[in-house]
């Protein structure tokens, strides 16, 4: 796998240091009890040290999505480890409006920390600022909110790291020259757009002069539309060599189309191993030789400990603050590309035929 051996992007470690894959499926899906001793929480909001009994809220992007579910699982696990109370909220739709409403409800409950996977980079700012004004620690995970509205962002992998990994994969799969296309989610998804922008920047490099990005298509994370877009790409670009989809629905749709048509076009991107297991393999009948992702359970887990560190005062979110995130070990806060700060979980993990069987059972 020559393409991926470039300096930054070689993920070699196993994605999860927390525990063996098989056990994780048993973690409770959700824990949404109202805190019984909430009075305690409100007595001394400023008390430093000790996160036991404090309330930690996680606001994911939307309900009904296993990726978010895994994040919540990791978050819950972390909070339970250090003895806090956990609240997980999932908006009906992946919209900023719903998240703002839920932030209001969490503020009214006087939680101690809110970790949010933002549906919009800027739109949550007024609501989150209010929360911070009320003494609540705010951090984002997975999909960042802007620096003014967070203490720190928990990043699954640096944006450049992901961009580089994807470009290298494309380079590898095209054999160093030819056309490829991107199949994204909605044109409004901020993390997708950041990755695509980063890919574009990397492609400027001389090294990639012979590969051409022909189109960014949007499947809106709708299966039917993603299928339409994939088929249109195949028809419009007969010489297309690779489709790169940095979204699970896009990857699934493209994988299905490519497999059904027995197309020679190859697929890579970012996808959940469970959903993509069907399409990953060696040989021509498998459209996807390998793809990347990180462990959503670990992101949740890391976010949980980051929140705890913010609440007990170990960190303030400033660069070079360090803290220990349970089984994951020590983390240091670094400067993020958006001029805020972030904690980076690690490089993206590569899923290929050698490990997909193991991971498809996990997430």
């Amino acid at each position: 796998d020559g393409g991926t051996t470039s300096t930054t992007a070689a993920p070699t470690e196993a994605p999860s240091a927390t525990e063996a894959p098989a056990e994780e499926t048993e973690a409770p899906v959700e824990e949404t009890e109202a805190p019984a001793e909430e009075t305690e929480a409100e007595e001394e909001p400023e008390a430093e040290g000790g996160v036991e009994g404090k309330t930690f809220a996680l606001l994911v992007k939307s309900a009904g999505n296993p990726y978010n579910e895994k994040e919540a699982e990791g978050f819950t696990k972390a909070v339970e480890e250090f003895g806090g109370e956990v609240i997980v909220r999932q908006p009906e739709k992946a919209t900023a409006e719903d998240q703002i409403t839920m932030i209001g409800e969490l503020v009214a409950q006087r939680v101690d920390a809110i970790a949010v996977a933002g549906n919009d980079f800027d739109a949550l700012q007024p609501a989150l600022t209010q929360a911070m004004d009320a003494g609540i620690k705010v951090l984002s995970l997975d999909s960042a909110v802007n620096p003014e509205s967070r203490a720190v962002h928990v990043n699954q992998a640096g944006t450049e790291l992901i961009g580089q990994a994807l470009v290298d994969a494309v380079f590898d799969l095209t054999g160093g020259e030819g056309q490829f296309a991107i199949l994204s989610a909605t044109s409004q998804a901020s993390n997708q757009n950041a990755w695509i922008a980063s890919m574009n920047a990397i492609l400027e490099d001389e090294q990639y002069a012979d590969i051409e990005m022909v189109e960014v298509a949007y499947g809106d994370d709708e299966y039917q539309k993603s299928v339409d877009q994939t088929q249109a790409l195949l028809k419009n670009y007969p010489d297309l060599k690779v489709i790169c989809a940095p979204t699970t629905v896009g990857m699934m749709a493209a994988g299905k189309v490519l497999k059904d048509e027995g197309s020679a076009v190859k697929l890579t991107g970012l996808g959940l191993p469970s959903e993509m297991a069907e399409y990953i393999g060696e040989g021509d009948e498998f459209p996807c030789p390998y793809m990347y992702l990180w462990n959503p359970i670990d992101i949740g887990y890391l976010a949980g400990y980051t929140a705890a560190a913010l609440v007990d005062g170990t960190i303030t979110g400033a660069v070079d603050d360090t803290f220990t995130a349970g089984d994951l070990g020590e983390y240091t806060i670094v400067e993020a590309g958006d001029e805020g700060t972030e904690v980076i979980l690690g490089p993206p993990f590569r899923f290929d035929p050698s490990n997909i069987e193991e991971w498809k059972e996990v997430y």
Binding site: G64, E69, K225, V227, D228, A232, N236, K256, D260, K360
Partner: protein, 333 residues
């Protein structure tokens, strides 16, 4: 005499003016990208949109009786997810059984809606808005927010959507099922008592009751059929996309309603034909399939789709009007 007849059918037939609008769209698309008119693309299009096209038939029944059903996306999700979960947890469930289970769940969903509308006197839009939330919520809860990925779905089931065995290799199975539904409905609506009574009920409920038609039963039937078709589509959906997600088919109701209305089904009931619905659904399928093909900016596609829908329905009105005006002029002479 003969010529007069042709003109008369033209005048009374919305379908023909609709067909012309469709041909216009097709011509423009083909001019922009000839790939559109290849057999492969048409087959892809029909396969992908067989689901919407089947749903349009059910929606037509519901609209004919003066109702509406915006819960179908949720019903599809619930029934599709149900059968996918069954297959995941019980290896070796035969394809037919899985299909039947999905259809059964859909039927129950539809009958429940019918019950609330007929016996509870809840206006259809409210009832189905409510059930849309209920069924979608139940889908998430039932699946515990999980998806059923491709590898957990039996191969035979997944192959249904790609296979051609129903017609011994001529047509894709999805297209076959869709065409069968259309033929069935065409016959049913034209040649059976219940079919005609659906029109009668939608045209004038009171009169239908005076004629001794059990209009409640007709309504039940319409919503039940809509549910049944949603269940069928739920099964097809899982098969064609080889996986089940809790949010699948979200928002599909609007496309389906648009198909019907473009196809000339009146939203106030009593008017609509299977041919019209077929053309309407086909136009929506063409828009979905062709917009990515014609090579315009992604950002323009939605706006263009809206514009084309508007232009299509307005053109249709204009042709109808000119036909009527022509008729009147001829009558004057």
């Amino acid at each position: 005499m003969k010529k007069n007849n042709v003109l008369k059918t033209l005048a009374s037939s919305r379908e023909i003016s609709l067909l012309m609008v469709m041909l216009l769209i097709v011509a423009i698309i083909t001019w922009r990208n000839p790939i559109f008119l290849t057999l492969k693309n048409i087959s892809d299009m029909l396969t992908n949109y067989s689901t919407t096209m089947i749903l349009a038939l059910g929606m037509m029944l519901v609209l004919l009786i003066g109702g509406i059903d915006i819960s179908i996306g949720a019903t599809i999700a619930l029934s599709g997810m149900f059968s996918a979960l069954i297959m995941r947890d019980n290896q070796g469930v035969p394809v037919v059984v899985a299909f039947l289970m999905s259809i059964g769940v859909g039927l129950i969903c539809g009958l429940l809606i019918g019950l609330v509308i007929v016996k509870g006197k809840v206006p259809p839009i409210i009832a189905t808005l409510g059930f849309m939330n209920i069924y979608r919520g139940l889908t998430y809860l039932m699946a515990r927010n999980q998806w059923v990925p491709a590898y957990q779905i039996p191969t035979a089931y997944k192959q249904f959507a790609t296979g051609r065995y129903l017609t011994f290799g001529v047509l894709n199975n999805m297209i076959t099922v869709m065409l069968l539904c259309y033929i069935l409905f065409f016959f049913f609506l034209k040649y059976t008592k219940t079919g005609r009574r659906i029109y009668a009920t939608g045209s004038n409920v009171e009169a239908a009751q005076f004629s001794g038609i059990d209009t409640d039963r007709i309504k039940f039937f319409a919503y039940g059929t809509m549910g049944l078709l949603s269940g069928l589509v739920g099964a097809l959906w899982v098969s064609i996309y080889a996986s089940a997600q809790g949010d699948m088919a979200m928002g599909i109701e609007m496309d389906v309603i648009a198909s019907c209305v473009i196809g000339g089904v009146s939203l106030s009931g009593g008017r609509g034909s299977v041919t019209g619905v077929f053309l309407g659904a086909l136009i929506m399928a063409i828009l979905g399939n062709a917009l990515p093909l014609v090579g315009i900016s992604q950002f323009w596609q939605d706006g263009l789709k809206g514009l084309i829908i508007l232009v299509a329905i307005i053109l249709n009105v204009l042709t109808q009007r000119s036909i009527i005006a022509n008729n009147l002029r001829r009558r004057q002479a």
